[in-house]
């Protein structure tokens, strides 16, 4: 199949194309669900919000402005819904729930790390500290940090999505990273 950009796909979605919908879903479902999950720390609820995000996108597909990137648009919707969710639940980010420690580590970390008990312990400790540090950050700082180091977006893209200047993006990421570093040092 000829590669279509996100912007071309959303136009096809607007006319009811099933294949365009499938392609957009495949491109964004995994990254957006996990992005929302890292903001609100609730995976089932993140799926609900992703669904709400996608429905809004499709419903407004005909109004999509070609001058903007589709990814910017869908991230903005996801972030706004996440903000609303945090306000509604007054959530404080909590560590990801672990059902089974063995299963958790076997799936989260690669075999080399998991087979080394020392490494396993260090990774887990570090991860818990990072989660704690993230929960102490403001929503704005946390979202920018996630966009940068989980979604791997550039400063410019983050600036467009969040609607703040690149300078603000830089300072927020710097602050978030320094905070997390200090948390790691303090708890070590």
């Amino acid at each position: 199949m000829i590669y279509l950009t996100d912007e071309e796909l959303i136009k096809k979605c607007a006319s009811g194309s099933s294949t365009a919908f499938d392609e957009l879903y495949n491109r964004y479902s995994n990254q957006l669900v996990n992005f929302i999950c890292r903001i609100i720390n609730d995976f089932p609820r993140a799926e609900d919000l992703f669904q709400e995000t996608f429905i809004r996108v499709i419903e407004n597909a005909e109004k999509f402005n070609d001058n903007y990137k589709f990814s910017t648009w869908i991230y903005r919707i996801a972030i706004n819904l996440s903000y609303n969710e945090l306000k509604r639940q007054k959530l404080v980010a909590a560590p990801v729930k672990i059902e089974s420690e063995e299963e958790y580590y076997s799936t989260i970390y690669n075999n080399a790390d998991y087979n080394d008990p020392q490494s396993k312990m260090e990774i887990r400790e570090n991860q818990e500290k990072i989660q704690k540090g993230l929960s102490e950050l403001s929503e704005n700082h946390r979202i920018v940090f996630i966009l940068k180091f989980h979604q791997e977006l550039s400063y410019k893209e983050i600036s467009l999505i969040t609607g703040v200047s690149i300078g603000t993006v830089k300072s927020r990421i710097y602050y978030a990273l320094q905070h997390l570093k200090e948390i790691l040092e303090y708890l070590s």
Partner: protein, 244 residues
């Protein structure tokens, strides 16, 4: 610039260095400095530990029901099925040239066979208005036919009654239709029979001809009367044999 100032500048760039946001020149500068400065390297490792630790946090796969739920909500309420079908066809036809060409050929072949098969069943609907036109037209043409061939018919060994009829027709145009044509149409060439003859012999043959495509059925039939004269003549012969 003393070493402390250099280290301060480098450490200010470490976040962007880790985020791959520096220019190639700045990147080289930081990389080179980290090789030679122990303090900055330690600072870099601390920040790197945070980022790598964060990146190792597991991502979850969306549940399978998410897709189906979402699709049923979004797509099924969006457009009628035929729009979706058209979109899918247009997407399919936008495949690379070899694929779309092969698909087009298949489509043409299927359509050809379909039309070939369906042409045998191609019977234009004949409404009452058209039938009346047919009757008048054919009646006039049959009369003309009989007039043109009266001598032949009279000398072809037909029964005396028929010969008498032809003589009467020749003698009086006013009674031609009443005596000869109306019984012919009513008894032998019913409207449906006329329709069938025209469809099978005329429409089938000429329906795709550029010169006749634009004609309405009635004008088309009139224009092509000569083509159906033979059929009507056979009907007449049949009628004659029945009534003789």
């Amino acid at each position: 610039m003393n070493k402390n100032d250099t280290c301060k500048n480098i450490q200010n760039m470490l976040v962007e260095y880790l985020g791959d946001e520096l220019s190639p020149g700045q990147n080289d500068l930081v990389s080179h400095h980290l090789k030679t400065c122990h303090n900055c390297r330690n600072e870099f490792k601390k920040l790197e530990m945070v980022i790598s630790g964060y990146r190792k946090i597991h991502d979850f796969a969306p549940s399978r029901t998410l897709y189906h739920n979402l699709k049923s909500v979004v797509i099924n309420q969006k457009k009628p099925w035929y729009f979706k079908l058209l979109d899918d066809i247009s997407e399919f036809m936008s495949q690379p040239a070899p694929v779309s060409t092969a698909a087009s050929l298949c489509l043409v072949i299927i359509m050809f066979y379909f039309l070939s098969f369906s042409s045998n069943n191609f019977i234009p609907s004949i409404d009452n208005q058209t039938c009346s036109v047919l009757d008048d037209s054919i009646a006039v043409n049959i009369i003309q036919f009989i007039e043109d061939n009266s001598d032949t018919l009279l000398n072809s060994g037909k029964t005396p009654d028929n010969n008498e009829s032809f003589r009467m027709i020749n003698n009086s145009n006013s009674i031609k239709k009443n005596i000869i044509i109306t019984p012919l149409i009513n008894q032998v060439s019913t409207k449906s029979e006329f329709g069938n003859i025209l469809n099978k012999r005329v429409f089938k043959k000429y329906k795709n001809s550029p010169e006749t495509r634009s004609l309405s059925p009635s004008s088309f039939i009139q224009d092509k009367y000569l083509k159906i004269r033979d059929d009507l003549y056979q009907k007449y012969i049949k009628f004659s044999s029945i009534t003789s």
